[in-house]
């Protein structure tokens, strides 16, 4: 690691340890346009020489440290998988895109039948693609979120207050996710999307309920959370949303999560074997989620390069799937759009 930016001692040691275990280099970069959650660009996913952790330029202190810690844990999992076996992600093919989009279409038709105001075909087609992509993104990210959070919490007690702020911020964003599509998405998928995040929040509430996670009450905007510890914040806010019905599905997803994650000793010393085991558990847990959500045919486990190629061909895959489903109608629709 080579950086001119100040780093707190525990994070500096954690980054060095990650580099040593994986025998790789990590560069830390500030970027004004970086995602608020930071971005990990790693050698196990991309054909690059060293790993880069990007974070927003205005994160100069502990917010930056937390992002670095979490991405280091994720890097360790990916690296251990690549070194001990194979690092695979949930990718897609033309065939799996068809399976996914077709299933969403069938469910959309069921919902549409009950609606007085029908969804225009253009919007329906748009929704099929957006929803499929969204689930692909979520299934690749969400299972690793409670894992990285739990590990950081147990190994980095110094940054727990920062972690609390992040959990609140991230949880809020995830609750709001897809709200703009609320009226056009089949209810089943909306509930499943919310249920995944509900389960994540409940799991973290159970796993990280320490007293030191009391909010930083000197911040005016956080005063409303005074006297609430993290468990209460993560659980009660779900009861205040219209998506509380996600609870039924969410509780099942939580059970699946606990079934796999209870096997992990969060305080164990870092090693390739340890993170490889976590990777395998993460994959098994992801498969269980996919199976529970009846999305078995939607995705395929492949190396990251396969996913990058698939993403480049996504429009082609989606078009093919839509043609199979709508036949001539989609050609007319495309022609209308071109003329319009």
């Amino acid at each position: 690691m080579k950086t001119e930016m100040p780093l707190s001692k525990p994070i500096r040691l954690f980054v060095s340890q990650t580099e040593n275990i994986l025998d790789t280099e990590i560069a830390l970069l500030r970027n004004p346009e970086a995602d608020p959650n930071g971005t990990l660009v790693d050698v196990y996913t991309y054909n690059i020489e060293k790993n880069v952790i990007l974070f927003p330029a205005h994160y100069t202190g502990l917010l930056k440290d937390f992002i670095i810690a979490r991405h280091c844990v994720h890097l360790l999992i990916k690296g251990a998988a690549a070194k001990k076996s194979r690092y695979l992600v949930c990718s897609f093919t033309g065939g799996s895109v068809y399976q996914g989009i077709h299933q969403i279409y069938i469910d959309a038709l069921k919902d549409e039948a009950k609606k007085e105001k029908k969804l225009p075909v253009t919007k329906l087609i748009q929704m099929l693609s957006i929803l499929y992509t969204n689930f692909n993104d979520d299934i690749n990210e969400l299972p690793w979120n409670p894992i990285t959070n739990a590990r950081v919490y147990h190994r980095m007690p110094q940054i727990r207050k920062t972690q609390l702020y992040y959990l609140m911020k991230e949880g809020k964003a995830d609750m709001d996710d897809m709200m703009e599509y609320e009226d056009i998405i089949p209810r089943r998928y909306f509930v499943l999307n919310k249920a995944m995040f509900y389960a994540r929040d409940q799991y973290l509430a159970k796993t990280l309920p320490a007293d030191e996670l009391m909010p930083v009450i000197n911040i005016p905007q956080m005063k409303k959370f005074n006297h609430l510890e993290v468990k209460e914040m993560l659980t009660t806010r779900w009861t205040h949303t219209s998506w509380y019905q996600s609870k039924v599905f969410g509780d099942t997803i939580l059970e699946i999560m606990e079934k796999y994650l209870q096997k992990i000793d969060w305080n164990a010393e870092s090693s390739l074997d340890y993170f490889h085991e976590i990777y395998q558990l993460g994959v098994r847990m992801t498969n269980h989620f996919i199976s529970y959500m009846s999305m078995k045919d939607w995705f395929v486990w492949e190396p990251p390069k396969h996913l990058q190629d698939a993403q480049a061909r996504k429009t082609e895959y989606v078009d093919e799937a839509l043609k199979k489903i709508f036949g001539d109608l989609i050609e007319e629709h495309s022609a209308d759009n071109t003329q319009g």
């Binding site: 001119e4 100040p6 780093l7 707190s8 001692k9 100069t60 202190g61 502990l62 930083v216």
Partner: protein
Amino acid sequence: MTVKEAEELIRKGRAYASRTKYKEAIAYYERALALDPSNPSGWYHRAAVFIETGRNTEALADCERAISLNQNYSDAWSKKGHALYNLERYEEAVVACTRALALNGNDASAWYIKGVCLDELGRNIEAQEAYGKSLELEIILDMEAEKKKIGR
């Protein structure tokens, strides 16, 4: 006129620095400093670029020059703390950051560097206090940034 020209050159230098074009930024700052060496801002901004490029001893010298021109230049004190931290002169960095914070208590970065240095010196309780203050300020800044984004 020279003063205005120098300020314009500093502004251009900052634009380059924000795009990590440090070589160009330094060239502009040097032209500004040649025109008006009594402007502490030129020294401060060149110090910032020196830090980004690992030239910490030169950064420290520039910060000291900026401070000699304006003793109450809080950003220059903060940057001096950063340069001293990079040079592993932790005690002196704590002093510089403390001075920066006496002038501007809302400098999240100065609180953080102070915390990091205190941590390095084994003064853990004081370090936690500084980290706590830094986090509060960072969160406020982050919330403001989020609000701006929503407003855009």
